[in-house]
Amino acid sequence: MAMEVTQLLINAQSIDGTVRKHAEESLKQFQEQNLAGFLLSLAGELANDEKPVDSRKLAGLVLKNALDAKEQHRKYELVQRWLALDMSTKSQIRAFLLKTLSAPVPDVRSTASQVIAKVAGIELPQKQWPELIVSLLSNIHQLPAHVKQATLETLGYLCEEVSPDVVEQEHVNKILTAVVQGMNAAEGNNDVRLAATRALYMALGFAQANFNNDMERDYIMRVVCEATLSPEVKIRQAAFECLVSIASTYYEKLAHYMQDIFNITAKAVREDDESVALQAIEFWSSICDEEIDILEEYGGEFAGDSDVPCFYFTKQALPGLVPLLLETLLKQEEDQDLDEGAWNIAMAGGTCLGLVARAVGDDIVPHVMPFIEEKISKPDWREREAATYAFGSILEGPSADKLMAIVNAALTFMLNALTNDPSNHVKDTTAWTLGRIFEFLHGSTIETPIITQANCQQIITVLIQSMNDAPNVAEKACGALYFLAQGYEDIGPNSPLTPFFQEIIQSLLAVAHREDATESRLRTAAYEALNEVVRCSTDETSTMVLQLVPVIMLELHNTLEGEKLSLDEREKQNELQGLLCGCLQVIIQKLGSEPTKSAFMQYADQMMGLFLRVFGCRSATAHEEAMLAIGALAYAAGPNFAKYMPEFYKYLEMGLQNFEEYQVCAVTVGVVGDICRALEDKILPYCDGIMTQLLKDLSSNQLHRSVKPPIFSCFGDIALAIGEDFDKYWRYSMPMLQSAAELSAHSSGADDEMTEYTNSLRNGILEAYSGIFQGFKNSPKTQLLIPFAPHILQFLDSIYMEKDMDEVVMKTAIGVLGDLADTLGSHVGGLIQQSVSSKEFLNECLSSEDHTIKEAAEWAKHAITRAISV
């Protein structure tokens, strides 16, 4: 048997397709027929030093894949199968794996490390293999270097796989001690030191208690900082990665070390290899991220009781940090604007400078201005570009007051540079900077406008000219136009862009049709700008927007005619379809209400026909965009949308079945809501199909969880549309709602992301209840709902008690209380009076400052008064 596996594994890597396929099938068969034997022989193969390296590595890989998978449901299956194996098989496999850590071949050891971590990921939470950590750590000091390296690597992977709360603090301490000792300068072997440094990166999440202890923290920090000075570049890079991770995980513990860290990072940025310098810059970017978050939560005011105070590290470092970052700006690569994947020290430094500006605000301006003034007109393009970039990067953060004079003075210069500078690089950055000026310093909130009657014409002319420049420059010019239009979002009935509207639209369409429009995302940028121009347009130009409809429809039509395209061409075609559907969607929203609605609706039939053909192309992006557009169209068409349903329905169903591309599924669920509101009870004939699919979606473990809350809301939409006819589905939907409610009542608290999800789930469930109650109102079928009242009240009480609901949930929840009282009336008067929700929760909502909550609460109060008085 063992012999056979070796041969199979070698054959499975054969260049001969038939041999390979045969081997793969045999392996699969083996796995299906005798899982225990299969896994055991793989582990044996991996552990056997006499076997060929290739078969050993593949054995390890197959073993790893038998323990873990990307898709949640598959992963769950694999875990269950492993746990079901008999103990003796598992012990033998574990022993083989541990033995492999001493193999002389590095790749084999590394594979074993990963497999051990996977097994640990399954077993440690189940309190199985409790001796693993101890056995890894016992006599680690006496181990030969290569085994020590493999052991540390295993510990690193283990920390990545396992959640900190399943490892006892005593074991955590031992792991960290071993790892940090391995990183120490005293460790003579670089491989060991590198493995230890990378392991620490993984283990940092386990070090909460140790970072709270001054002595232990000092020790860890000292070792990390020393490792950044190692002669080995990979160790320095790994050590800086640790610092980056510490910056975000332990921000509040860093005050004591910042001076040293500044010196280390400055030296690395100026002198070290780029891979190291990038990490050093990233440290400061991470610090800025933290401070921006903290300051945003304060809302600009220091609140004594907030969890993490801002230490203003960035502000304190300004005098040294800004010059450091400005220097990096001069290290541009020639073609970085043409290469989508480019990332270099100049880009990292520039990005960091922008973050610093956001973190410190006005204070950055005097540190940057001299650099800009000195270099903006220099003959070397690098200096001009760096100065322009520096200017662009400080436009977000400082106040408008601080920037206004500078920007006004610079505007003409920028427009001139965009037209006349000989360097593509400088023009690219200039157009980007203009975009940032419009993004942050133009709009209704700015007191003295940057764009005036005097310069509006010139600005638009320059931007339109630049759309004929190289694709990367044209792309940025489109971006600038996007923000220029956005600034007039709430301008009122008369927009300064009106006189230029036609010209802007024409130019954007021309750009979109450039032959090189697929370079530098130019075409996307052109349509995005077009969308924003339309979104922000006023009634003055609605006829011109209307004229755009047949133009875009024709373009979409043309994309559907292409035949026999190569894979690459088809992909571009689909992308274009997505853009055009997106554009139509924006136009529908713009024109789909009076007074333009009737003129616009003449295109509805044709447009719907095109969308249906787009669905036929089976591209996820285009599908999603067409679906969103149809949602908007349904709203505009109202009950008339019914005529499209017979043809559209199958695509609706297809969308709801699309588990893999969950965005498609999610938008389809939203569109079902749109259609419910448009058709009201005319949607009834389609409800059996829709509800069946939605119920399937909910019970599937393949579907991305983010789609589930909107599905519950959609139940509410359907119930509200078809009223008492929802009783057909009540039998299936109520228990689902009930169990989801139970789950979501108490499952929060783990972290912010989980709390957010829990709240969106609660909101969906509550919206479903609201729709069902209001839909059943005034029907004898309300009787069906009475038995659910105690549960729903309990649900409301429990989310109130958890104290972690957001404002959206608060409003929906108090509304449901009212709906329940309104629909069930005196049947539930007593129950309502016993609930906490009808007292404390209601009172809290009644005194809410959010008027939508207050309104819902007042309504609930009236409904309850009535229910208990009857």
Binding site: W343, E532, Q589, V667, N778, G815, W859
Partner: protein, 418 residues
């Protein structure tokens, strides 16, 4: 363990336009969902407010409860639940019901686009009333709120009969005219059907709904034990030449009393509205010119105006049109107070108009109006009545306006010279 990728977005917006579209769609959907819920709740919330006007209520709620015509929120207040309102008694009920009807203005000039945007129908002669079916019974109330009939009907929820037309507590509201001679309720508009409000629907939709739904229930069948009166939908026409002709001259099972014109796009707007117009002449109505209590046409035109602060006399329009003033001493002497409805005769001086707008009237005080009156006359009624006595708007005027409109639709004729 490979190094970790740290690339950040460079010179690009953090959110793509696609993401923005997605978010805007979600925002729109959330907004519409919450609007839909709000509408559903409103249908009930006014129930609560009204019910609270029993003695033991919070006065704060009460003040919100009374639907007020002068506020811009008619649509909300009109979602009032009729089943509750039927329990109202006395003046409160009168006031409330009177305010729930859409009241046509009198046609004093011909609106644009008659043939495109308007329906025309022959108004049956009889009492305008509000028919409410709910809780197994049907009640009709005339404009002042008093009950005309209390009866079983085949309308939804209109009779205590099992399995008939939908759930017992679903209700409907119809805007009708009761035609005495054939004892039939002629339905001229549909306000609520099976608990669903049609206030916010266009006339086009309401009429379509009315024609298709009414027949389904059996309400148009001849009377029976569970269906005391027959209902019948009034036929309506597009207001083109042939539509106008059919409505004006067509033979109908009822006696006509003028023509009603409905703007197709108008919602059911309670109170006076210029989007529904009434027009009458001698050949399609017995009652062109107002009669007095004895059924005779008085020599002088009589009008009713409301007295306001400082002696101002105004019409029932919103906003009220000031007509004249009473001097303070006279008001005091006659024991009149603000809010009184006062009757005047128009003297020989008549009504003076400048550019089609009223300027001055020769009014003679005749006394306080009949107590059954809930409102003053509207401006358009006074003007129509005045015109009817002096220079009436004729059916030919209507027809010629329509034909003029149609000509405009045709391509202009080209005249060749030389």
């Amino acid at each position: 363990m490979a190094p970790h990728e740290i690339r950040r977005p460079f010179k690009r917006r953090p959110i793509s336009d696609q993401q923005k579209r997605r978010e805007l769609s979600l925002l729109r959907q959330t907004q519409h969902r919450s609007d839909a819920q709000q509408r559903a709740r409103n249908l009930a919330s006014s129930v609560i407010s009204l019910q609270s006007s029993s003695p033991d209520v919070d006065p704060e709620i009460l003040s919100e409860a009374v639907p007020e015509l002068d506020e811009g929120t008619e649509s909300e207040s009109s979602n009032f639940d009729v089943r509750q309102a039927s329990r109202l008694r006395g003046p409160e009920a009168r006031k409330w019901f009177a305010r729930q009807l859409m009241l046509p203005e009198w046609m004093i000039d011909v609106p644009d686009n008659l043939s495109q945007d308007w329906y025309v129908l022959a108004r049956p002669a009889g009492k305008r009333c509000f028919v409410v079916s709910s809780d197994g019974t049907t009640v009709s109330r005339v404009r002042n709120g008093s009950i005309l009939h209390h009866f079983p009907s085949a309308l939804p929820g209109g009779a205590r009969k099992k399995g008939a037309s939908g759930p017992a507590n679903s209700y409907s509201i119809l805007d009708c005219i009761f035609h005495e001679s054939d004892q039939t309720y002629y339905v001229i508009d549909m306000v609520c059907w099976r608990g669903y409000s049609l206030y916010e629907c266009t006339a086009e939709f309401r009429f379509f709904w009315m024609q298709s739904k009414l027949a389904e229930t059996g309400a148009c069948d001849p009377p029976s034990f569970y269906h005391k009166f027959r209902f019948s939908a009034v036929p309506f026409y597009n207001c083109d030449q042939s539509g106008l002709h059919s409505a004006y001259t067509g033979s109908l099972p009822y006696v006509k009393d003028g023509l009603l014109f409905y703007n197709k796009h108008a919602h059911y707007h309670t109170g006076n509205t210029p989007l529904v117009l009434i027009w009458k002449d001698e050949s399609c109505s017995q009652y062109v010119i107002d009669t007095d209590n004895n059924g005779e046409v008085p020599n002088q035109q009589h009008i009713v105006l409301e007295l306001q602060e400082e002696g101002k006399l105004v019409t029932s329009d919103d906003p009220p049109v000031p007509f004249s003033c009473l001097n303070a001493d006279f008001v005091k002497q006659s024991g009149l107070s603000s809010g009184s409805l006062i009757r005047f005769a128009i003297g020989d001086g008549g009504l003076k108009c400048v550019d089609g707008r009223f300027e001055k009237a020769d009014l003679q005080y005749t006394g306080v109006s009949n107590r059954a009156r809930a409102f003053a006359d509207s401006y358009s009624k006074i003007m129509f009545q005045y015109m009817a006595r002096h220079s009436p708007l004729k059916v030919e005027d209507l027809a010629s306006t329509i034909s003029h409109e149609n000509q405009q639709d045709k391509p202009p004729e080209v005249e060749m010279s030389d």
